[in-house]
């Protein structure tokens, strides 16, 4: 009885040791990666271009970026709570400004890296007409948007529906994704027949149908970048922001349907 117990204890200790070792391996790898990399918070609509830009930047400079994607409002809250991002690529200009005002962003570092476009999109070919009439007379059960309070594209979708006087009649058909990426997923999977998504998300999409919402129906989606205080002394973070203004980067950004400053 005693021996079996101590044998069991020995075995348990051995397992524990192996487990601790196994747990430490990836951790040390992670730490090594963290030491030489820049954490960047990226508004969900900018997911695809950000990945391409980061890959090019890494190739050119050897600096690595760690990208996180989510709703701008969620990042804004997280940064306020000390999230260790060094750069914030927001989907609006209000939140970067507020971060600078509250001392979390570096004064004068904000600039507009892209102006986004809203599109009404469906994975079903022919469902969306080129005037958006489907909103008032369409046969659909669900219309996906991003959370209006935390995602600027969601706010723009609400503005558009209000401008078209269809918001009240559509209200009970709206489903809300926590970011524009989830709104896109709801629509692309067909769970929602229609969705207001970012043009950049569907520009490479060959199937489906879309209506590029006229710019006069919603406030321009001016997307600003800001250097955060945590990255103030990081040359790699500054280099990435500088890279975003280069013609090569602007060309990539435009290729996803964004408008950039000339």
């Amino acid at each position: 009885m005693l021996t079996s117990k101590s044998a069991a204890r020995r075995r348990f200790t051995a397992w524990l040791g192996a487990f601790a070792l196994a747990a430490m391996l990836p951790m040390s790898a992670l730490n090594a990666a963290r030491a030489a990399s820049v954490p960047v918070a990226v508004a969900a609509n900018f997911t695809a271009p950000a990945k391409e830009l980061a890959a090019n930047f890494q190739l050119a400079t050897g600096n690595t970026l760690v990208l996180s994607f989510g709703a701008s409002g969620a990042f804004f809250t997280q940064i306020g709570q000390g999230a260790p991002f060094e750069i914030f690529l927001s989907a609006d200009s209000v939140r970067p400004k507020k971060l600078v005002e509250s001392g979390l962003g570096v004064q004068g570092s904000e600039f507009t890296y892209a102006t986004g476009k809203l599109v009404l999109w469906s994975a079903t070919p022919g469902l969306v007409d080129n005037q958006g009439k489907v909103l008032s007379d369409g046969k659909f059960a669900h219309l996906a948007i991003a959370a209006p309070k935390s995602a600027p594209y969601g706010e723009a979708a609400i503005e558009t529906m209000k401008a078209l006087n269809v918001y009240d009649q559509l209200q009970n058909r709206i489903v809300v994704g926590e970011s524009i990426n989830q709104a896109y997923q709801f629509t692309a999977s067909g769970s929602a027949e229609l969705g207001f998504v970012a043009y950049s998300q569907v520009i490479r999409e060959k199937k489906g149908s879309e209506w590029l919402v006229p710019q006069n129906l919603y406030k321009p989606i001016t997307q600003d970048a800001v250097l955060l205080k945590t990255g103030e002394n990081d040359p790699a973070a500054q280099a990435f922001l500088a890279y975003l203004k280069t013609p090569a980067a602007l060309k990539i950004i435009r290729s996803y349907g964004y408008v950039t400053a000339p």
Binding site: S150, I174, V176, G177, G190
Partner: protein
Amino acid sequence: MWPAVALSLELATVTTCVLLLLGVPLAWALARANSWWGEAVSALVALPIVLPPTVIGFYLLILLGPHGPLAPILAHFGLRTLAFSFPGLVIGSVVYSLPFMVQPVRNAFRELGPAPWEAALTLRARPLDAFFAVALPLAQGGIITGTILAFAHTLGEFGVVLMIGGDIPGRTEVLSIVIFNDVDTMQWGQAGVLAAGMALFSFAVVLVTFLAEKRMARLRA
């Protein structure tokens, strides 16, 4: 805030009722199964405890969606998807909370052993009568525990709802989602009130369960 409270309570109530209907017979079958498949099914039932809600949410998205295996049945009722709907949330919650109902009830049935059941059958009770008149009352403690836990667990559900709910006020925007949105948008006052309410309620539920179990144990002794 109040519609979300009402919706969460409604979801938890409906889910718990469904779980009583499904989970108790399942627990009974599992308690009496002696073969390896009984353990396999038990393990399957226990999976939601260890699986991340995103895995369950992902499978539910596929299962309930317009290209999923349920789509032909849904089309019959004129529906394309069960995502973004209350019935969809009920299905998700039933899967998610299943182990919290089945495990205590199965354990209660197991503790009973076959003796009371066989005695009833020897006295010529029909199996169904024996189940309702003998097995169920004797396993009362486990059933009460399972009911409370399933209710509380559903009330606190978040990840699955986030993935399949679509955040519709009054239909799929449950309490935990409201707290998530409040935190996201810096409305920490309301988030604080709701979070404190949830914490207090959960504490009360767990405490009551523990006290009830202690009492049951003393009664048995």
